[in-house]
Amino acid sequence: MADLARTISPSITPEPLIEGPDDDLTLTDSVFAPVWKPTAKGWWFLFMICLGGTGMLFSAIGWTVYKGIGVWGNNIPVAWAFGIINFVWWIGIGHAGTLISAILLLFQQKWRTSINRFSEAMTLFAVICAALYPVVHTGRPWFAAYWLFPYPSTLGIWPQFRSPLTWDVFAVSTYFTTSLLFWYLGLLPDLAALRDRSTGKWSQRLYGIFSLGWRGAGRHWRDYMSAYTLLAGVATPLVVSVHTIVSFDFATAQLPGWHTTIFPPYFVAGAVFSGFAMVVTLIVPAREFLGLKNVITLRHLEAMNKVILATGWIVAYGYAVEIFNDWYSGSRYELGHLHEKMLGPFAPFFWMQMFCNVVVPQIFWKRSLRRSLLVMWIASIFVNIGMWLERFNIIVISLHRDFIPGSWAAYAPTIIDVSLFVGTICFFGMNFLLFLRFVPSVAANEVKELAHEMRHTHV
């Protein structure tokens, strides 16, 4: 097939997924190099910033718990503000990992190989950040477990199973568990390789413990492959279900701006959109500094930008349907909401959202821009901002002016809100830096397998 394509038109032949020498030793060395090398100064610099931010995060959580939820900017009617905006934003970011690891695996998309572990790790850390918010938002996090999880308690009551908020608990905890297992299972062969090649006593021991006795026997590989495919099967519906349920938190309410059936697909597309943008934001500098350019090539980045462009259009379609339905309903409240959204006090945020999520991704129609590192990095940051603004607009614009003008109120975040948000970004960054430092961020075993396949089949 590839040969045929090459004869017809040389220009449509895909570039190789691995550049440079592709023997096993070189690949292993290049993938493991960031783990072997002594800790770089830049790493320490970033780590210290993120550590400081993490300290700020936990101070802000401590202050919230000590003083109560009143230190946030939330009010009535805007009872869901930064807490839920950031929850949805983070959980959305997580979706790229599951999509890349599960769906692209089942579709046998070879280009997932170099970036799957990276994005799975991103998923894990993003879900941790996301889960923090609703738990702190309860005001008494130490009670949250018994409020949220159904267990045979002596209270004689259960959580409200008809509420999407309860479904959320299951969706997010299933999502986290599956993502963790998937990521860890994929790591096993590489952890074993690290164990075998470490020289330090402690690194041998620790990698030894975490590799769970992996010896690379044929039977191990057979079980590993079936477990990996099974987990991919389990994870696949989660790509769709988690954000669908998150969207139900809004769509099942009657509030203008929330009460709409387009929410589930539009939330899922938005999640993948923001997730891929975050992968690009992280991977562009990471491949540069970790020297992984031979395995994470421009072809990978270009493919991700195409996904951003495609999901960006689904999101744009969602915006269009929302606006159309507001108008078509003829409901004065829906129309009022539309008016508030486009011309109200938060209108600049709406137009900024449109610019970031609808206009900016269009640059990826052009091949040279799709392949420019600087352009894609900046565009991906725009998309991240745009998707945050989308959640801000959905929550704050809908809530701050609902049916009765008497219950309208303005909203502004407090310094604690901002500290929590910046804090989770730093916490996420800290986890990610630790991941880059101690674990191979590209799956060496899968890359080597791909290299073998390429040698024999010209993938």
Partner: protein
């Protein structure tokens, strides 16, 4: 985990049936069963207030000024009476601070003393009758009927017609002169809103 779930249901955690030693050897058996004193003689705010009330020492002295007035058992009662220093009775049925509870409404609706406090007339040393779990409260709040009695029997420790079921069935089936069941008479409804108890 399972053990924890189990532990929370045992008297070790609920303190059910755990005798509470009071400063004076007060025997409910004697006062309720032998003497036939109505609960409300001592716990006299039960119909009007959230608390059933501990009796003032003067209430004890209504009788004990005349009988057992030399008994060393009652030294503390006399001391309290003459000094004006209250006897420090120990609380037996303890609810958390976040639970709103009012005795008067329960009595007015026909929940008998024995329903929640058990057979006090058989307790030498007072103890907590029910397990006091939230599910125990809710059992009755969801379906009050079996536990509602006519108000004139509020302090009765046993049914007026033993072996004939609850007051509800007794009244509806025996064709007694009142045609209404106690639930209807007392206008009793299920109350399960969170804010009924958590205000």
């Amino acid at each position: 985990m399972l053990l924890l779930l189990l532990y929370k249901r045992t008297p070790l955690a609920t303190l059910q049936h755990e005798p509470v030693t009071q400063p004076i050897e007060f025997d409910h058996r004697h006062h309720v069963a032998d003497d036939g004193i109505d609960c409300r003689y001592c716990h006299n705010t039960v119909e009007t207030s959230s608390s059933a009330g501990y009796p003032a020492t003067s209430v004890c002295m209504n009788c004990h000024a005349q009988i057992w007035n030399q008994s060393p058992y009652l030294d503390l009662v006399r001391k309290s009476y003459f000094t004006g220093q209250a006897i420090e009775w120990k609380k037996v049925h303890r609810l958390p601070d976040f639970v709103y509870f009012n005795h008067s409404i329960h009595v007015a609706k026909g929940v008998g003393c024995v329903t929640c406090h058990g057979r006090v007339d058989e307790m030498a040393e007072i103890h907590q009758g029910p397990d006091m779990q939230m599910s125990w409260c809710l059992d009755c709040h969801r379906n009050p009927k079996p536990n509602i009695r006519p108000r004139q029997y509020i302090t009765a420790m046993i049914d007026p017609a033993p072996g004939q079921g609850t007051f509800e069935t007794h009244f509806s089936e025996s064709g007694s002169n009142t045609s209404q069941s106690p639930t209807t008479m007392n206008d009793v409804h299920s109350r399960t809103s969170c804010t009924t108890c958590h205000r």
